[in-house]
């Protein structure tokens, strides 16, 4: 396998996610696009982990340099879970106060 297969797939998913963040008006849809972006990064991290794993030798029972990829991806997943929890709470408060979750209507701080 070429390492670039995985990196190109992740890059394309990342760009689709960026398009969603820029274009969508609904707050929940923006969060979904952010999930696409974070997921693309995870594919990169795991692909680099596998690439590194075939170059290094791991002794079972000892910490191995090749586990860096999956470990970082796990941290990304944990941060994504925290982000989506707080993000949805914010969107619920927004809906309670404005009866709408349209991001374009959030112009209170516009000069």
């Amino acid at each position: 396998m070429l390492i670039n297969q995985f990196l190109f797939l992740a890059a394309i998913l990342f760009c689709i996610g960026v398009y969603g963040v820029l274009v969508r008006k609904n707050g929940v849809m923006v969060l979904m696009s952010i999930e696409l972006i974070l997921n693309a990064v995870n594919i990169n991290l795991v692909a680099f982990g596998a690439r590194w794993g075939t170059m290094s030798t791991c002794v079972p029972g000892e910490p191995c340099a090749a586990t860096i990829g999956p470990v970082f991806a796990l941290f990304v997943i944990a941060v994504a879970a925290a982000e989506v929890g707080v993000g949805l709470a914010l969107i619920l408060v927004l809906f309670r106060n404005r009866r709408s979750i349209d991001i374009d209507e959030l112009d209170l701080m516009k000069g």
């Binding site: 070429l2 670039n4 998913l13 929940v28 979904m32 910490p63 999956p70 408060v93 309670r96």
Partner: protein, 173 residues
Amino acid sequence: MTADMLPVNIAFYAIAAIMIGAAIRVVTTKNVVHAALWLVCVLAGAAAQFILLASEFMGVTQVLVYIGAIVVLLLFGIMLTRAELGSSDDLDNNQKAVGAAVSFCLALVMGYVLWDAFRGESFSLVGHTTADLGQTTEQISDSIFSTYLLPFEAVSVLLLAALIGAIVLARRD
């Protein structure tokens, strides 16, 4: 490319095509609930790619956390904000052309950099066991609880803070 990698490559390209198609549907569909279901498709495809990369633990975590928890949370968000459950023409703003141009330019730049940096660099997982690759659950947990103990604790404090923050924000007072 050697012949023994052919099945893996076929599986990769089939899953990648499904993932890209589903991702495009996530950002273009006119139905909010359908977007969440297409997102499940992308996330399941990513789990399959993790398994192709011999990282079973990450594949299972992806299914449990993303599909099991995050998508359900997003669906709760859709229901609680009483979004229109049918098709709606009012989901996109009027900057579609600019957004498409920006993401296309981003794809060009990233594609060129990746092609330039990793051109022709290949690896083969055939003949390696999961333990050789350092991807067993035991090796990953050894790594988290020794080398990366401090970041792990920081992430747990972050999750606790996010939990308390979400409760404080969402409760009625």
